[in-house]
Structures are given as structure tokens and as C-alpha cells.
Symmetry: C2
Subunit: 408 residues, 2 copies
């Protein structure tokens, strides 16, 4: 198998050909057909649903080496390697870009694509090729905007399952994700316990704590009150840039840690005032956040931000699977679990993760829990790739333990 | 001396009469006169500056019992008791309201107004009676808006000093403040070391860390990109409500702690959806933040928010007094220092406060440092009034230690 860090876009026409694929590049699959809509958890339907996905590495004939990776809020299917181009709501955003987890996924890397066949799909409601609020509603010929139905973490797992079914893949060696991706990994373990062997949840947990709910609300408030928001129907005019910038800057702060920001920026001032006087850009941290946010509005759809954060808010594994009782919910799980938290993550703080792990222990699950010391905050799962990679490699390669779970 | 929790507004015409005052109610003093403008640290001048202040308790003839309390971002001069009315930029906001630190300041309370004469003044740039961007610029007959000059923590201390000079008060028994008020207290200890005996810095420090700079920037971004901001000249139209709401919600989250929010709100849902569907108000924490922010825009001026957060950003005691060296700066201090940090405060985290205390110890200062365990976050200095009160009382009543500081 050849895997190159240079753009390598191949098109394969039949799912069978996946068996000899190195990297597929971005592919799309239509999950619906006339009379066969995509059914959401809340009862709504979408008559046309496409999913964009990428596949890395060869699929064993025994189908025993598939790892599904789930992306976080602003991620896409492009998890590794160099893309030839990235499209946002169909429009080319930029050429050639490394995958969002390229340091972890690839040949010889922690999630080794010489051994595993890695699949990653863009979530429903996003703007990177899968159907979302920026997609054309076939009933009206116009973008959905806020007429797009509410989506949930469970819908994303259903979408991934349908994709895998069509690719002829029944069993997942592992499912893995960080943050919102970790919620998807957990939902897989709860919803399809028999279809997965190992489950990796990084910087995530069974529910978003109140502080995260608050931050997400402020982000949506900023977007929805932007002068250009137009009730979500901004696709033919100016997008709500300023609101999405505020959301991204805010999000970015919550992904870092106080100590990490002190180390990276401190209170260093810019060489010269780059803004408009008193309230312009004066400190390096301001310049960084401004730059990040301006880049983000080029590559992300504000409506997708609304839908995906709401799905993140609403995810509650205990409520969905245990009538509010997390231990009861966890009794559904049969996968081997790895949970990794990061000391400076305050979106999913270690205390929360320990509660989750305690519930799994009470449910007598074989769970591995690691709390990594890090100043990288919530983003640690993306940036502390060396320690994270070591954990992933060890967990993935360890022989499966015999299950000794009491049946309830 | 009589102190009542009922409104008790008295007017006294001469500073001398302060000697027999219980509580003055809100008073104003004009600090400028023709040809005698208020001179700011950056060289700018204001031809008319008024300061609004309140005084509680009798001033001893020996003037040995004055405590100056400095307020935080959105505070005012009304620190204790029940006001008869509160005005925002001159407009009546509401009748009868308890002081922002009423649990701590008053007769028999931790800062005992039967023993001490407490003075609190609204900062320059605010909207509660002291001159600010919402005040009329005498040169144009219109509100200043963003033509108001940049103000600093040092300017606030200068304003307080001028007020005290005119009241005939040379010596402060103590100066005390939390958050931005703590920066003012520290600046007093550095700028006028001989005029103060004790200095109390709560949930604050010699500089705002990078994370706080980031949050303040997002808040200002939200205000300045509100469709009604009009470059700050919104006084005759709609104020930038939505932007100020975003700023306040964001601020509010940063004043609490994750654990505190989990305890207070968790993920409790409202009995019925109170908003407009998917992106409306669904969780209690959302309802709380929304309510807080809507109430805030009634009582605060968005331009003041810009000016005051920028002053908070720019305050840097080491830079101003030690050429970047905090130990050198601290050598100026002669006051006895009390520094209190709170375990869950992430605007001025305990680590930062310890650095500050270390610098003072290196400067051989007699400093008392207490780190209080609390889930109340940055707001702990306002809400954990029982433990904070005990510390303040003990520190204020302890006999002054003889100074054994080596002279440099």
C-alpha cells in the first residue's frame, strides 16, 4: 500500500474497490433514494442526504481492521494526508491542506494506516460535503438555512452506520473521537455495542457541563444577532462574519488553557498597534484570536455552527440510554473503553471524565482511564499528539481482553 | 451614629460635615474648574470631571479610620445600604437597591461602619455618576462616545486621591478592592505608599493574564459590531443591546466556575421551551444568562464597558513601577498587604496570585496571603462573604506590625 503525504486523489467506483485502496480522497455517498428518506431521531426526514467521507489504508478481507474516526465541531472527513482541495458548502476554500489529525493518523503513525483501514465521515449539518443547512433543499431549490431539521449525535452515528453498511463493513475494530467526536464514539458503544470492539473517548464525556452550555449559547447569540444573519438565509448575501468571528474567538479561548495562553502569548504587545487605536489589536493574544477567527469565517458556515453546537449541548448518554442513570446506560457497553482526559481541559474537565469512568466501573466494564498532564486545554487531543499517540497505539494493539462482564 | 438599612439620603454641603455623617447617599464633586482640567496619565485632559461617591460611617477627628473601597468593572459608589435610586448616565434606572457589598460593609459587619469611615467612588469612564463616555462633552454639547480619552487604573487612583484631598483626608487606614478594584488598591500601594496603612487585594493581581485579555477582546468585538453601535454614538438611538448582552453573558460565565455552574444549574431543562424552537432557551443556565444579560443592558453603558475593560487589560504594575520587574515594583510598597485568591477563580487564578505574593516576599514585605477553597469562581469575593468577611475583619483589626523592611 502506498500512502504519500502529497495529494493523491483516487476515485473508486464500487465499494468493493475499497479493499485495495490507499487513500480515497474525498468521496461522497448518497444515503437516500426516492421514497427512502433519511430518518432523524426526532422523527423528521430529509429526502436527500449525502455523506462525504475519506478512507485510508487497506481493508482486510476479514474486515477486522476498520477504525472509524469521528471529528469534532469544525472538523471534516479529511483526517490525514494532504488534500488536493477543500470545499465549504461546495465552494472551493483552499488547495492542499494537511488532515486535522495528520500527526496521529497515517502509515507508521499511532493509528497506523498500514495496519488499519481508517474511515472518517463529515457529520450531518456540517458544511464539508455532507448535507447541512447550506445544502440545497430539493423541495424549494434553495439552501435550507434554519429550515434544516435539528440533528443529534445519534443522527451522526446513524449516518455513519448507513455509510458503513453500504461499504459492506459490519464490524469496527475501533471507533475513536475527541470532544464532539468522543460523544459520537461513546454513542456508537451504546447504540451498536456488538458492532465495535474498542472505543476511544478523548477530551469528552457523556454530557457537556453547564459552563459549555453557556459558552455555546453566547456563541449562537453572537451569530444570530449579527446584522447579516437574516434569519439564517444569508447564502446569497454577506454571511454573519462578525458573529461567527466572536463565536470562534470564544471557542478558541475555551479550547486552550489559561496557563497555555500565558506561555504562548502572555501579555506581549504587538510591535506596533495594528488596529484602530484604543480598541484595536494591541496584544499578541488579540492578534492571534483575530487572525484565527477571520480565517475561520472563510471556512465554516455559521448555520452549521448553530446546529452542531446544539447537538453537542443536547447529547446526554445517561438520559438517552439509562433513563438518567449513567451506570444503567453503561451496562449496554461491551466494547473495551479507553477514556483520556487532560488536566487543563475545562470543557470536559477531568472530574467529569472520572464520573464517567466511575459509572463504567460500576457497570463492571473493562475501562482504561488516563488523565494526561497538559497545558494544552481541551485542544490537547489535537496537539499533544506524542503522548496521545502513544496511548492510542498501545490501546489499539493490545490483544482484546476476554470479557468478564456480569450480565444484567 | 445611626445606620439604617432603609434609604437615608442626607446632603452635606461642606467636607467638614463628613465628620458627623452616617451615610451620605450619592454625592458628587466637581474636580475641575476653568483652567484646571483633569489631567490623565496619557497626557490628555478633560475640562470637566465629576466624581460620584458615597461615604459611610463617622470620620474620626484624627482621620485614622478611613477605608477606601474600589469597585469592579460594573460596580458603582453604592457599596452598602439601600439606595433611594440608581441613575445610569443620569437616567433613573431603578429605585431602592442594596449596595453591591452590603453583606460585608455596614454597622457591625466585617468592614464595620461603626468603627470605620468607608468611602467608595465611581471610576472615571463608568456610567454611574462619574464622568464617562456617556457624559456631555462641554466642547460639543453632545455625549463623548468614543471621543472620550483612554482611562487607566492609575487615573482612577488619581481621581480618588483628588476627591480625598478635597475632603481633607490625607491618610487611608486601608484601601480595599476585588478584581478591578484590587488593581486600584494595589495601584494605591504603589503610587501613594505613604498615604495608606493597609492594602487588601481580592481576586486580583498586578496584571490580567492572557485568557482574560482574550475574553475582554471578544466582549468588545461583540459590542462594537452590534448593528446599533454606530461608532459609539448611539445615545440618541438604540444602544448596542445584543452586543452588550453577549459581553455580559460571557463575563458572567468567567465570573463563575465550572463546578459552581454544575451545582447551580447542571443540565436542568426549563419546564417548557421558552425560546424560539431549536436555538431558543432550553436549559436553565441559558435562561439565567439571558436574564442576567437583559437586566445588565438596562443598567450599563456599552461604551463604559469598552473603556473599563481596556483599562483592566492595560494595567501592569510591574511595567509601570518596576520596569517590568515585579519585585522591584513591590519595593515601593510600605502598606501591610492582604492578598486573597479563590481556588476556582480563573480570571486571576491562585497561581498568578502566588507569583504576586512571592514577589512581595522577595521585596521583604509583610504580606498575608490566603487562598480560599471555593466553587464561586472569580465572583467569590462578592458572594463568599462569610469567609471573606472574617479575613477582612481580622486583617483590619490586627494592630499594625512594626515595619522591618530593608530600605533599598
Amino acid at each position: 500500500m502506498i500512502f504519500s503525504s502529497q495529494p493523491m486523489k483516487k476515485k473508486y467506483d464500487s465499494p468493493d474497490s475499497l479493499r485495495s485502496v490507499g487513500w480515497t480522497g474525498a468521496r461522497k455517498m448518497l444515503l437516500t433514494s426516492p421514497g427512502q428518506p433519511f430518518r432523524l431521531q426526532n422523527g423528521a426526514t430529509l429526502s436527500e442526504v449525502e455523506v462525504e467521507y475519506e478512507v485510508y489504508g487497506d481493508l482486510h478481507l476479514a474486515q477486522d481492521n476498520v477504525i472509524l474516526i469521528a471529528h469534532a465541531l469544525s472538523g471534516d472527513a479529511h483526517v490525514a494526508g494532504w488534500d488536493s482541495q477543500t470545499r465549504v458548502n461546495g465552494r472551493i476554500w483552499r488547495q492542499s491542506r494537511p488532515g486535522w489529525w495528520d500527526a496521529v493518523v497515517g502509515p507508521g503513525k499511532a493509528i497506523d494506516t498500514e495496519r488499519f483501514c481508517v474511515i472518517c465521515a463529515n457529520v450531518l449539518g456540517s458544511c464539508y460535503g455532507s448535507t447541512g443547512p447550506g445544502s440545497i433543499n430539493p423541495d424549494s431549490g434553495k439552501p435550507y438555512g434554519l429550515r434544516f431539521p435539528s440533528v443529534s449525535v445519534a443522527d451522526w452515528v446513524e449516518m455513519q452506520r448507513q455509510l458503513l453498511d453500504r461499504l459492506g463493513i459490519e464490524h469496527l475494530y475501533a471507533v475513536c473521537g475527541g470532544s464532539l467526536g468522543g460523544q459520537q464514539a461513546l454513542e456508537w458503544a451504546l447504540r451498536y455495542p456488538k458492532r465495535i470492539g474498542k472505543c476511544i473517548v478523548l477530551a469528552s464525556g457523556p454530557k457537556l457541563p453547564a459552563q459549555g452550555l453557556g459558552f455555546n449559547m453566547v456563541a449562537r447569540h453572537a451569530i444570530m444577532h449579527d446584522k447579516d444573519f437574516a434569519g439564517g438565509d444569508y447564502y446569497e448575501g454577506e454571511p454573519p462574519r462578525r458573529g461567527l468571528e466572536a463565536a470562534r474567538m470564544l471557542g478558541h479561548i475555551t479550547y486552550l488553557s489559561g496557563k497555555g495562553m500565558d506561555k504562548k502569548f502572555g501579555r506581549t504587545r504587538l510591535a506596533q498597534d495594528q488596529g484602530s487605536g484604543l480598541f484595536g489589536t494591541e496584544f499578541e493574544v488579540e492578534s492571534y484570536l483575530r487572525h484565527q477567527s477571520r480565517s475561520f469565517v472563510q471556512r465554516f458556515d455559521a448555520n452549521s455552527y448553530l446546529y452542531i453546537t446544539r447537538a453537542m449541548d443536547r447529547y446526554d448518554a445517561a438520559e438517552a440510554w439509562g433513563g438518567g442513570d449513567l451506570v444503567r446506560a453503561c451496562r449496554r457497553i461491551t466494547a473495551e473503553m479507553l477514556v483520556v482526559s487532560f488536566s487543563s481541559d475545562w470543557l470536559y474537565p477531568p472530574d467529569e471524565c472520572r464520573n464517567f469512568v466511575d459509572a463504567m466501573l460500576k457497570a463492571k466494564l473493562p475501562v482504561t482511564y488516563v488523565e494526561l498532564e497538559s497545558n494544552s486545554g481541551h485542544d490537547a487531543f489535537l496537539v499533544d499528539t506524542e503522548p496521545v499517540g502513544r496511548l492510542l497505539r498501545a490501546f489499539l494493539l493490545a490483544p482484546s481482553r476476554e470479557r468478564k462482564v456480569a450480565k444484567h
